[in-house]
């Protein structure tokens, strides 16, 4: 003990304080560094979105100059876009296709996922593997004959080819729901079965309410998938301007309206807005869904 004189102890204390300060300073620098990197990245990610919004408020002439700030702010663009092009019609068309498609996916995928995860039967593993396989299959391989089927049915151009397939189950949604249903303990079902509950009732009254987060996730993915879809509408409705969805309409904008850049940006903002709003309200569901399956839509 004698070697620890007061002086020495003091010295050690001092050193400890300096070390702690150094550490604190280092941590502080690191935090500053991290946040500046994150803020830079955020600016890069947000920049294009910010720019569309800014340009959507410029006059048609100004959008094609090198200026950076609207002068004056042409809020009128947001009305004009509805009068120069049938924007409302496009929106309603897109809405109709997306809502119907979502309903189709949910009512066809929930029961399929239910029997694949909650019931023991021969062939269920094979069925599941087939579903996984169809998820990996490039769409082009089936696209042409499917198109021919719809053409022979006389469904082109119409919304039917965009909606009807949704009612026949989506591999992705069945997969996601199955993963979730599997995590619900079997005891719950067993208890209900012993009480004489029918399978259908069991599914609707017990499993579906418990799986609400997963069902909202697939509904969201299905909705956004058809809202953002371009290829489907391009094949099936691009012949008839009355049936245009927002994606097709926006893409046709250039040809029809001699590149009114600012209006095109206005339309883009309105096209993205519902998606962004939905995302803000359902971020958690969304991110969990992506994390669970690794894919979007």
């Amino acid at each position: 003990m004698s070697q620890f004189t007061d002086e020495k102890l003091k010295q050690i204390d001092q050193e400890a304080i300096i070390l702690r300060r150094k550490k604190k300073f280092k941590d502080f620098l690191q935090t500053v560094g991290d946040h500046s990197a994150l803020i830079t990245m955020s600016v890069i990610f947000a920049f294009p979105l910010f720019m569309v919004f800014i340009i959507s408020l410029m006059s048609a002439g100004q959008a094609e100059t090198r200026s950076f700030w609207p002068k004056p702010f042409v809020w009128h663009n947001y009305i004009e876009v509805f009068t120069t092009v049938p924007f409302l019609k496009w929106t309603l068309n897109t809405m109709f296709v997306s809502v119907m498609g979502t309903i189709g996916v949910v009512i066809s995928s929930v029961p399929a996922a239910y029997v694949l995860s909650r019931l023991q039967w021969k062939g269920r593993h094979t069925t599941f593997l087939i579903i996984l396989g169809t998820m990996m299959l490039p769409g082009q391989v089936t696209q042409i004959p499917v198109y021919i089927i719809f053409a022979k049915l006389g469904w082109i151009p119409s919304f039917l080819p965009l909606i009807v397939p949704a009612f026949f189950g989506s591999a992705f949604s069945i997969f996601l729901l199955r993963q979730f249903f599997t995590s619900i303990p079997d005891e719950i079902s067993d208890a209900a079965r012993i009480d004489g509950c029918s399978e259908f009732k069991l599914m609707m009254r017990i499993v579906v309410p418990l799986a609400k987060p997963a069902i909202s996730a697939i509904a969201l993915f299905a909705f956004l998938g058809s809202w953002n879809d371009f290829f489907g509408p391009l094949l099936y409705i691009a012949e008839n301007p009355d049936l245009y969805t927002l994606g097709i309409g926006l893409n046709a904008f250039k040809g029809d309206h001699h590149t009114e850049t600012s209006l095109m940006m206005t339309a883009s903002v309105l096209f993205m807005l519902p998606v962004i709003v939905i995302f803000f309200f359902s971020q958690k569901v969304f991110i969990e869904g992506v994390t669970l399956t690794g894919v979007k839509g």
Binding site: M41, A46, V52, S108, Q140, N228, F230, S268, I276, V295
Partner: protein
């Protein structure tokens, strides 16, 4: 099971139907019926049919005419657009798949750093991947416009006098598409973020005690644990790049891509099938695409033993 039920049975009583063991076949069938119908009419039949059509000449109106392997021969010997599309597609896959994975890891890693505000940053990083592809592409063709777009304005401002013409320049347009893809990295990033957050903290602490540098702990702890996610992104990336369509199609429509620098495999199938109505030849193209993606996926699958680490076993192991 009989033992368990007989406990509640008095002698002479008829056993109640054992509900638990009975498989409700009708219920199962009804639940799977829509999917079954779908897989037969929208997957199985189309696959068989397109395989057959790939050996025919078929324009929808007339009956398909069997022409043997002519379609496949035409691909390699008579179709310049096919070669162009194939080259473009391979080029963009080779560059953009690794780039996307690196960028996703980097963005996800950045998101694991801060103690506060992670959710706000995550929202901003993720948001672009939600934007409809058509809108995103139109926005990018504006932002990267060489005359009035803000990107080149900025580049000139920092002293770059001859910034590229991006979408308007055949040698730069693919880069612009790659940047557009990187901007929408959100969904890939989220999977990597989940992977990064799964790495046990104790591993890093142990490495720090052993005196490992930041880079070393990334190289020997983080990276090996991320390999399953990298593997997954590689496979989906290959499948995705052969189906890469919307962005390239919209962008080339916006800028009139005469040189076909943004002409990809999926565009070629679209043009052949739905513009030229050469259904037979387009089917052959589609089957060739399936073959290529299958080979690429198999190669990744076969090599995975050497570089993919599964801590808890996996579906593919």
């Amino acid at each position: 099971m009989t033992g368990a039920t007989s406990l509640f049975q008095k002698k002479g009583e008829v056993a109640p139907p054992r509900k638990k063991l009975k498989v409700p076949r009708l219920f199962i069938f009804l639940c799977l019926a829509p999917w079954l119908f779908g897989i037969i009419f929208f997957t199985a039949y189309p696959m068989i049919s397109s395989f057959y059509q790939s050996f025919t000449q078929y324009n929808i109106i007339d009956k398909p005419v069997f022409i043997g392997l002519d379609n496949y021969e035409r691909m390699f010997f008579e179709d310049d657009d096919f070669m162009k599309a194939l080259k473009n597609t391979i080029w963009i896959s080779v560059i953009s798949i690794p780039l996307r994975i690196c960028f996703a890891i980097f963005a996800a890693w950045l998101l694991t750093r801060p103690k506060r505000g992670r959710n706000i940053y995550r929202t901003i990083f993720f948001l672009p991947s939600m934007v409809p592809a058509v809108a995103a592409t139109i926005v990018f063709t504006y932002v990267f416009n060489p005359v009035y777009g803000p990107i080149n304005k900025g580049l000139e401002f920092v002293g770059i006098n001859n910034p590229p013409y991006w979408f308007l320049d055949p040698s730069w347009s693919k880069w612009a598409l790659i940047i557009l893809g990187l901007w929408g990295i959100g969904d890939t990033m989220i999977i990597f973020l989940a992977g990064l957050l799964d790495v046990p903290k104790s591993l890093y602490e142990a490495a720090e005690l052993e005196g490992a540098s930041g880079f070393q702990s990334f190289r020997f702890i983080t990276l090996p644990l991320l390999t399953p996610v990298i593997f997954f992104s590689g496979v989906t990336g290959v499948i995705g790049s052969f189906q890469y369509f919307t962005q390239a199609f919209v962008a080339s429509g916006q800028v009139n891509d005469y040189s076909k620098a943004m002409y990809f495999y999926a565009t070629h199938i679209y043009q052949t099938a739905f513009k030229a109505y050469e259904m037979g030849y387009a089917s052959a193209l589609a089957w060739f695409l399936l073959l290529i993606t299958m080979i690429c996926t198999l190669v990744i699958l076969k090599t995975q033993k050497r570089w993919v680490h599964y801590p808890n076993g996996s579906l593919f192991k």
